[in-house]
Structures are given as C-alpha cells and as structure tokens.
Amino acid sequence: MVKPTLVTNRIRALRFTHGEMTQADLAARVGVTRQTVIAIEQGRYSPSLEMAFQIARVFGLGLDDVFGYPEEN
C-alpha cells in the first residue's frame, strides 16, 4: 500500500519527553480531535503548515525539529 504521506514526525517521542503528554492533551492544545493526532503520528495524515506550526509550538520547538521530509535521491 502506498503511504499517504512522506512527511515524518517525532510527535510520539516528543510527547513522552514533555511530561508524558497524552494524545488527548496535545489534541486539545492544538484544537483538533485525538483521531487527527493519532493519524499524524502514524503517518496517515499530513498536517497543514499552520497545524504543523501549532504542534511544534506546543513542544517549544521549530518545525524541522518535529517534522521531517526525506531527501530526494
């Protein structure tokens, strides 16, 4: 199956290093549903640039520290 997005992220790891933040906590702080946080973590949904900034801001990090995109070969 083709992966829906090539965007990778470290949200799961960052949640644990930020006081074991739950998916529900992150969702509430970003203003999305928990299902959307789950989908982003699992690589099933690529967030908009605005949502990506909001998520990065929750962790006090830059976009590149939270999200990644593979280099072209």
């Binding site: 829906p4 997005t5 529900a24 999305v32 549903t33 959307t36 099933r44 908009s48």
Partner: protein, 146 residues
C-alpha cells in the same frame, strides 16, 4: 472513532441497507412480472423517507451514546475531517453526474419513467455509498496524495 468518522460509517451502512432493501422489495413485488409494471413510486418514496429518518436517528443516537460512554468533549471535527469530507464528496459526485447524464439520455430516448426514476435513485444511492467508502477508507488508511 471520531464524530465525523462515526457519521460516515452510519451513512454508509444506512445507504447500503436502503438500496438493498429497495431492490429486494422491488423484485419481490414484481414476482416475475416485468419491472415496469411494478407500482414502484410508493416504494421509492418510502425508501428515501425512511432512509433519511433512520440516518438522522442513527446519527443522533450514536453521538449521544458516544458522549455518554466517553464523556468526550473533543471538537466534533477539524481540518482533517473537512478534507476527508471534501474528498468523499468529490469521489461520490462523479457517480451522480454519470447517473444524471444517463437519465437525461434515457428521457430523450423516451424510455419508461420506471427506468429513468430508478437510474436517478441508483445514482444517488451509489454516489452516497462510494462517498461513504471513500471517507471510511480515508479515515482508516489516510487521504491519497496526488
């Protein structure tokens, strides 16, 4: 499962149930006679009315039950839900257009009203089902990238 995903499932199940129920009722009423002789109008109207009513009741019931079970105070939908809704509508819309075009050609060729009405109904039903499948797939496996 989120509010909008649950609604997509409800719409899909009710849509399939309505179409299957209608076809079964229609065929049993025909009882071997030509389809065009079946008094299909009351059946078709009843299917649409009951289908809409069941959809509303099922959506409300599933939402209430989910809120009671989880005490969930999450937003009902977000950007992902809107993107999935748009994707589903776009995919389903194609089938509606095909059905409408088919009905237009059938009317121009002066086909029996039975076939025109039923092609339009089938187009609505198939469009709704395809939309439901597209939405549920997007919720389960992600939106396709293109």
């Amino acid at each position: 499962m989120g509010y909008e995903e649950r609604n997509a499932w409800v719409a899909l199940v009710v849509g399939v149930g309505a179409l299957v129920g209608y076809v079964v009722a229609l065929v049993s009423r025909a009882d071997g006679a030509p389809m065009t002789e079946v008094d299909y109008q009351p059946l078709l109207i009843a299917t649409v009315v009951i289908g809409v009513a069941v959809m509303i009741v099922a959506t409300v019931a599933s939402t209430i039950l989910a809120r009671i079970a989880t005490g969930d105070a999450e937003p009902r939908g977000d950007q992902r839900d809107r993107e999935i809704a748009r994707f589903g509508e776009r995919v389903g819309h194609a089938f509606l257009v095909v059905g409408a075009l088919a009905a237009m050609l059938m009317a121009m060729a002066e086909w029996d009203f039975f076939w025109i009405a039923n092609v339009l109904f089938a187009a609505f039903a198939v469009s709704a089902m395809v939309e439901g499948v597209a939405k549920v797939s997007a919720y389960r496996w992600g939106l396709p990238q293109w």
